[in-house]
């Protein structure tokens, strides 16, 4: 295997400055991209983002340039930019590192986005589980206010932007745009029906742009170095770099910035130091609890949007959870199912009732009483959930189960065995 290294495009300033000091961020070249924007106008910047081919890093992979232009065309007296730092997909912790080690770049990304889309107010929505870094974020916001990077008439540009932190209260679904808006309005985080879309009528029914922490950070780096530098990494369809969170049975779990196109093998056995204690790889789950299960025999699959799409999964949140052969697939799927059973918001019937049915089936599997009929029922439930759930959570929840059935049919053959035994 060729030697693999992580790259430092978005994470360029990690460790290069004291993450909590605005002064040292400035000395490291911070806020130059904003100055560039204020001097040269937003069209030039939007064009740069278009050319970079950057796609939303929260999981939906929508072209960021297009997203910003669409939001720019929404006209209202109040518009909000919300940084989605509600990193709730199990196995994901890369936004945590961006917030901890380079919060000023996240804030700069928000200011740039706000100027480009003519939004006057911003909110960093941080998950409650990250309460231990809330103070750090609020201090950075405060420093930016003190030095007029935030507030009225930023750096004499005539543009004003107010920014604050909002703490979630522990809910996976709140990572979805509408659910996030609901929770910021003092309600339970349940998604709304579309249309209208969040960009048209989100927080307080006003135009709201919900954008991922990593996407915001990437915008700043792209302006700093130019779209062409970003495109030197990755593939034609998946340009640039991606922050991944590698965890589970590897020697060196952690956050790595990779160019798109490395294989899972290169990530697991190269970057992450190989399987822990030299054990045999079993599968990885890609992109969070709602991500696909990829067996070890397919670890030469490339980490790109297009390759994953062909394999029936997606990049998702950038999580890679690595399991060795000591983890039984069905036990693992039960953990995944427990998670969704707990986190389903209960608003739409397919997700709420589907999860209840899946729980019954997985309990039977654990008890050794599942039959072939249960397996067929599981397939029907998954089909209905995936095609009729209200929000992305219910729709994508079926991915781990469907990919597990696709790649590990032998694990499910056991149902037929139960059936035979029952007949005898």
């Amino acid at each position: 295997m060729k030697q693999v290294h992580e790259v430092h495009f978005i994470t360029e300033l990690f460790g290069k400055y004291d993450g909590s000091s605005l002064q040292s961020y400035l000395e490291a070249g911070g806020f130059k991209p904003l100055q560039q924007l204020l001097a040269g106008g937003s069209e030039k910047i939007l064009k740069e983002i278009d050319e970079s081919g950057l796609q939303g890093r929260g999981g939906a992979a929508y072209p960021t340039g297009r997203k910003l232009r669409q939001f720019l065309s929404e006209k209202a007296p109040r518009k909000f930019v919300v940084c989605n730092a509600d990193e709730g997909e199990p196995g994901t912790f890369k936004d945590r590192e961006l917030l901890r080690r380079n919060i000023y770049q996240v804030i700069e990304g928000m200011i740039i986005t706000a100027v480009c889309t003519q939004a006057g107010e911003g909110i960093i929505y941080v998950r409650e589980e990250y309460t231990n870094i809330h103070d750090h974020i609020e201090q950075a916001i405060e420093s930016c206010y003190q030095h007029n990077y935030l507030g009225k008439n930023i750096l004499g540009s005539g543009f004003s932007f107010e920014l604050r932190l909002f703490s979630g209260a522990g809910s996976y679904v709140c990572g979805e745009g509408f659910a996030m808006c609901e929770s910021m309005e003092g309600k339970s985080g349940r998604p709304r029906t579309k249309p209208p879309y969040v960009k048209q009528a989100g927080f307080l029914n006003l135009p709201t742009l919900v954008i991922n922490t990593e996407t915001l950070s990437a915008i700043v780096s792209i302006i700093r170095h130019g779209a062409h530098e970003f495109r030197k990494y990755g593939t034609a369809e998946s340009p640039g770099t991606k922050l991944i969170s590698v965890s589970g049975k590897v020697e060196r779990p952690g956050v790595y910035e990779i160019p798109f196109g490395l294989t899972i093998n290169e990530i697991v056995n190269g970057l992450a130091g190989g399987m822990k204690n030299g054990k045999k790889g079993n599968f990885v789950q890609i992109g969070g609890a709602s991500g696909g299960i990829l067996p070890a025999r397919l670890w030469d699959t490339k980490y790109t949007y297009e390759d994953f799409s062909r394999a029936g999964m997606s990049v998702g949140s950038g999580a890679i959870v690595v399991a060795d052969t000591e983890t039984k697939l069905l036990d693992y799927l039960k953990v995944v199912q427990d998670f969704f059973n707990h986190e389903s918001c209960g608003k739409c019937t397919p997700c709420r009732e589907g999860n209840r049915q899946l729980r019954i089936i997985f309990d039977k599997i654990a008890a050794g009483t599942a039959t072939a009929e249960d397996f067929y029922r599981m397939e029907i439930v998954l089909d209905v959930m995936g095609s009729t759930s209200l929000c992305g959570s219910g729709k994508t929840e079926v991915v781990p189960f469907n990919t597990a059935i696709k790649y590990f049919p032998e694990e499910f053959a056991v149902f037929a065995e139960f059936e035979k035994r029952a007949v005898i």
Binding site: P90, F93, E128, G170, G189, Y332, V335, F339
Partner: protein
């Protein structure tokens, strides 16, 4: 008690301009400053009145979010992650260690009302799995001995209060 609660609620709600949009931060702050680390039925009723919203909305929000509680809990909440990575990395041992040290099972509160031991979903500490969150701090790479020391240090902090 009722008067104290009324006072606390009014103080917190006033800080947020009595605007129900701020229900989440209001509830989080009142819970943190309340005996039993929860939103009691009485507190929910007062909050609803102050913000001019229904009690059922307050109850809905309190029971929806996992950081809010409608039942009394210990001052120290020990949350053991049971999501994907932590289950792969065998969190069961960690559970036994905490159960032994605290003398309660998962889901229970110690008789002195100091500690509540519960499961949590992913807390974003998968790089140090299996992970545990104690109030706002997160720990990983624990051993039997470290769990003993950790619990002792929280006991000592509670004793000072």
């Amino acid at each position: 008690m009722s008067k104290e609660l009324e006072l606390l609620t009014d103080q917190v709600c006033a800080g947020y301009g009595y605007d129900p949009v701020n229900l989440l931060p209001i509830l989080q702050e009142i819970q943190q400053r309340s005996e039993g680390n929860y939103i009691s039925e009485e507190a929910a009723r007062i909050i609803a009145r102050k913000l001019n919203i229904t009690e059922s909305r307050v109850y809905d929000v309190v029971t929806y979010f996992s950081a809010l509680s409608a039942v009394p809990r210990g001052d120290v909440i020990v949350q053991i992650c049971n999501s994907t990575t932590c289950s792969i990395c065998d969190n069961r041992e960690l559970v036994t260690w905490f159960e032994d040290e605290l003398g309660v099972k998962v889901g229970e509160t110690t008789p002195d009302n100091k500690f509540t031991l519960i499961y949590t979903h992913c807390i974003g500490a998968c790089d140090i799995a299996p992970a545990v969150r104690i109030n706002h701090d997160v720990y990983g790479g624990l051993t039997r001995e470290k769990v003993r020391e950790l619990v002792a240090s929280y006991r000592a902090k509670e004793a000072v209060k």
